[in-house]
Symmetry: C2
Subunit: 147 residues, 2 copies
Amino acid sequence: MLSKKTRYALKALVVLGKHFGQAPLQISRIAAEENIPKKFLEQILLDLRNSGILFSKKGSGGGYGLVKDPAEIFLVQVLRLTGGPVALLPCVSLNFYQKCDECINEGTCGVRDVFLDVRNATLKVLSETSIADIIKRESILTNSVGG
Amino acid sequence: MLSKKTRYALKALVVLGKHFGQAPLQISRIAAEENIPKKFLEQILLDLRNSGILFSKKGSGGGYGLVKDPAEIFLVQVLRLTGGPVALLPCVSLNFYQKCDECINEGTCGVRDVFLDVRNATLKVLSETSIADIIKRESILTNSVGG
DNA sequence: ATAAAGTCTACTATTTCTATATACTTTGTA
DNA sequence: TACAAAGTATATAGAAATAGTAGACTTTAT
């Protein structure tokens, strides 16, 4: 499962994506709009800023905005920045690799081999989908409900 | 990430799969072979027995064995029995569905929509792969290293 | 009878996650 | 220039999940 941190980050980026190119948005506004605890969101957005995908502006009229076009922010990146797991086993992770404590021979481990396939399948979706795609999907879902 | 419980369960089932049709295997032997804490493994195997995929035999000469052919035990099932997550979001899980606390409209949530795709991709691999497949992969990996 | 195995329940320790608190800095504007 | 609006930074607390351990009990083969 994704952590709440990752989920909140995705939701916030979607909101920010909808306002790309406009004036920065305040944390409190995003928090209210997406039902996210404000103080928690502060930390998350700060992280995202420090990793370079958001800019911020202090003081009155300040807030956060996307540095890049939402079409260029892919979900893998967000998961990785917020520490969310892509792989289901540490020994199969590209960015957070760790040997499994109990494992005797990683090179011949059949379990590992299958979860490499799982990781690749997951990664394909997450690395092909951007924040802009999520926004598109939302508008499709909204319109198809409406009529 | 999979829990250790799930990992240990998979490893144990692979060992048991290799001995399918033969005399039952002792917990202590599986634990030793796979570097799994014995007491922890006891609980896990007991769970798997109570859910019907293993049989057990008490007393001297006792132990555990697979009820079904390893070719008929698929990884999805093991993950679900051991509580491991398949979906990355609760609102997208088939067997452990939960509404996301913060979510305002599930039906039009773009994040959810993407993670439905992710779930389907993952599920495809996990529901097509059996314990027997893992054993096959292991022998392929072992032989390709050997020569 | 005894020893080898599994059964069952409870408990504890550790870690990770989620959230909150507090004090500080920058910036716009009255 | 004071003040308020915003983000910055770090620490800490609380909660939940995970991992592992302990101990007493039951069944079965010899």
